[in-house]
């Protein structure tokens, strides 16, 4: 009988080998699915994984990978800090929306002033918006012990309602002929988050994502706060003996993740999205949770996971448009990729052992 056995130390080999193994497994099973749908599986898989990086239009699509991955990475890193400490902020989507609304409101309030300071102030306002929205579950948690998963999730729906109100009401473009949606930031250069280097898709959001990745890595491995986060997650009682104040940790982790999500929203609204609209949020806050886990809650892993996720989106779109695959097939394919990544991950910490009956016994 096959059974799992915990490894004494995590396997370095499998730590690096699991992602490729998962991708190959997904290609095989996904290929069968595509073949059943009457498509050439090799063509589909090449379109998803190869073409965006090396294909005919890679000059454009490579940049789009960072555009798509940037907000995912930025949000996921903030979430990962909290997840490591056992603080479950699953309302990043709401914080992302509120960051965009607050930041955009600040910018639009001074339209069309031209001043170098406008964009930096908007970034701060965006971070503040996300932070403030995350503080609601944080403070309810520390003051009343209210479950942060639920409150942060509920606040996503509240934020969506405010977003609808913003785009049909207080942020509506006065020159938009009554249509919903704010002014477009492409017509407001001082507040615009334009590309710094277009071939790579690099705008300030991408810069922020990559820098945050490095900073978070340093924080977790070298800094006292990082130690507290890890300790609180692994051994909450021991953490208390070490003088970790759980309330402060909650406020800090929620605050950081909220602020990063808010910033991501601001970079998105002033850059790629261009404006506040009813459907401005496109699920980045939820997808980032998956990215955080795919990256094993490690900032550098998250950067890689963000790019992999972006690749399936961009490549999936290509496959859908060019090969006539229904969008749902791409969603199923993405879901399978996540399942396989999560499943083979077990090999990092465990190994399979063949055992006969109850022969394997021993110390726990």
């Amino acid at each position: 009988m096959l059974r799992l056995e915990k490894r004494p130390t995590p396997s370095r080999f499998w730590l690096y080998a699991t992602p490729p193994v998962a991708v190959i497994l997904t290609m095989i099973v996904g290929g069968i699915l595509f073949a059943l749908m009457g498509k050439n599986p090799f063509e589909v898989i090449r379109t998803i994984f190869w073409d965006p990086i090396f294909g005919e239009f890679a000059f454009y699509l490579r940049g789009q990978l960072l555009v798509k991955a940037g907000p995912l990475i930025l949000i996921a890193i903030g979430l990962a800090l909290g997840f490591r400490a056992g603080i479950w902020n699953i309302g990043a989507e709401g914080q992302y929306i509120m960051g965009a609304i607050v930041g955009a409101s600040v910018g639009l309030a001074v339209f069309p002033t031209d001043n170098r300071l406008i964009f930096p102030v908007m970034v701060v306002a965006g971070a503040f918006g996300g932070w403030a929205w995350a503080m609601i579950p944080a403070i309810l948690k520390t003051r009343f012990n209210t479950n942060e998963i639920l409150v942060s999730l509920m606040l996503v729906y509240v934020a969506e309602t405010i977003l609808a109100k913003a785009s049909t009401g207080f942020l509506k473009n006065p020159e938009g002929m009554g249509f919903p949606g704010s002014r477009n930031f492409s017509s407001f250069p001082a507040a615009q988050n334009s590309f710094l280097y277009e071939p790579l898709g690099l705008h300030w959001g991408g810069v922020a994502a990559l820098v945050t990745g490095i900073l978070a890595y340093i924080l977790l491995t070298r800094h006292q706060a990082g130690f507290q986060i890890r300790l609180a997650g692994q051994a909450p009682r021991a953490a208390r003996f070490h003088g970790v104040n759980p309330a402060r940790l909650v406020v800090m982790c929620m605050g950081i993740s909220g602020a990063l999500a808010g910033m991501a929203g601001l970079f998105e609204v002033t850059g790629p999205a261009g404006q506040i609209s009813i459907d401005f949020n496109s699920g980045y806050g939820f997808t980032a949770i998956i990215v955080a886990f795919l990256g094993r809650l490690n900032p550098l892993g998250i950067v890689l996971a963000g790019f992999l996720m972006a690749l399936t989106y961009v490549g999936g779109e290509m496959a859908s448009t060019n090969l006539g695959l229904p969008d749902a097939a791409i969603q199923v394919f993405q879901g399978m990729l996540l399942f396989f990544l999560l499943a083979v991950d077990v090999l990092t910490n465990y190994r399979f052992r063949l055992s006969v009956g109850g022969a394997v016994k021993g110390a726990k």
Binding site: L4, E5, K6, F83, W88, I90, L140, R143, F144, N145, T146, N147, I149, L150, V151, L153, M154, L155, Y157, V158, T161, I162, A164, K165, F286, I289, I290, A292, F293, L294, P326, D327, A328, A329, I330, Q331, V332, F333, Q334, G335, M336, L338, F339, L342, A343, V344, D345, V346, N349, Y350, V360, K361, G362, K364
Partner: protein
């Protein structure tokens, strides 16, 4: 009889029906979470159940078989989650979210060709003579069988979790898998069965949307109901009767805000639209503030995977 232009009898009767999908899904998730598993894939299981139920009901012409089909479809999808989290020990939060993504995709792919078809109707269970009674008629007797079934399930789960040996085992596994394991219980096997039960309940809840509430198949028909079900479980502190109250409250506020609009209430509607969520938060705060220090009655091992080290 009307209060502010709204007839409370009709309002209550309406909310009882509109709460069935979230009630069923939340009851299932309650059992799952009681056993120490957090499955965030409720939305995915509901939408797959909605399609499964619809397909079977159309194929067989029997809405009852449709609900069975919805339960089977939801349970099958949940087994993917069970396999990943109980055998491969994958993280439950991430797996649950991936399950939702996968379920939405699968249902949309499988539902092609089912647009624009009407399923066989699910009618009122009891005769009109009872349903037409004043006041009690619409509230107590005017429903289809799923409304009664959902209430019956609430009672059964309350009874099972509170008084039976099975309930004790489930709770033990959720409170301390180490201790339950030491007592000789197969932790992962028990959790697997709870997950499948949760999937079946979510699937039936989804089927209620596609067979009774809407009744039609369209992509993404559940439109976020699964997330609300998750919220209700926590709101209810993992207790079946409170789940019922939570589902009715939630369904009730949604129905009430629409009714207030029709009645011409001066309350701005956009605030009404967010009212259910805000009220849930407020109720949650009041409830958890009452017992400081205790973790809202959450199962102690919630979200943690178990591996029996030997």
């Amino acid at each position: 009889m009307d209060i502010g232009g709204i007839n409370p009898v009709i309002l209550i009767a309406t909310l009882m029906a509109s709460a069935v999908p979230i009630l069923m899904a939340a009851l299932g998730e309650t059992v799952v979470e009681r056993s120490g598993v957090l499955n965030l894939g409720v939305e995915g299981m509901m939408v797959v159940g909605a399609l499964g139920g619809f397909v079977i009901a159309v194929a067989t012409g029997s809405p009852v078989l449709g609900f069975v089909g919805g339960a089977v479809a939801g349970a099958l999808l949940s087994l993917i989650f069970a396999l990943l989290t109980q055998v491969f020990l994958a993280n439950q939060v991430a797996t649950g979210l991936a399950l939702t993504m996968f379920g939405l995709g699968v249902s949309s792919l499988g539902g092609q060709g089912y647009n624009g078809i009407k399923p066989p109707p699910t009618g009122q269970l009891l005769p009109d003579a009872l349903a037409d009674l004043p006041v009690v008629g619409p509230i107590l007797f005017g429903h289809d069988w799923m409304v009664y079934f959902s209430i019956l399930m609430t009672a059964i789960l309350w009874w099972v979790l509170k008084t039976t040996r099975l309930g004790l085992i489930i709770r033990a596994v959720g409170e301390s898998h180490e201790a339950a394991h030491a007592l000789g219980y197969k932790v992962n096997r028990i959790r697997l069965m709870c997950i499948a039960f949760g999937g079946a309940m979510a699937g039936m809840g989804g089927a209620y949307i596609s067979l009774v509430r809407v009744p039609q198949w369209v992509d993404g028909i559940t439109a976020g109901a699964g997330w609300i079900a998750l919220a209700i479980v926590v709101f209810a502190s993992w207790k079946p009767w409170r789940v019922l109250i939570g589902a009715y409250l939630f369904g009730g506020i949604t129905v009430l805000q629409l009714n207030l609009q029709v009645a011409g209430s001066a309350i701005p509607v956009e605030y009404l639209s967010m009212a259910p969520y805000l009220i849930t938060i407020i109720v949650l705060v009041i409830m958890s503030a009452g017992k400081r220090g205790k973790a809202n009655g959450a199962p102690a091992a919630l979200g943690q995977n178990f591996h029996a080290s030997r």
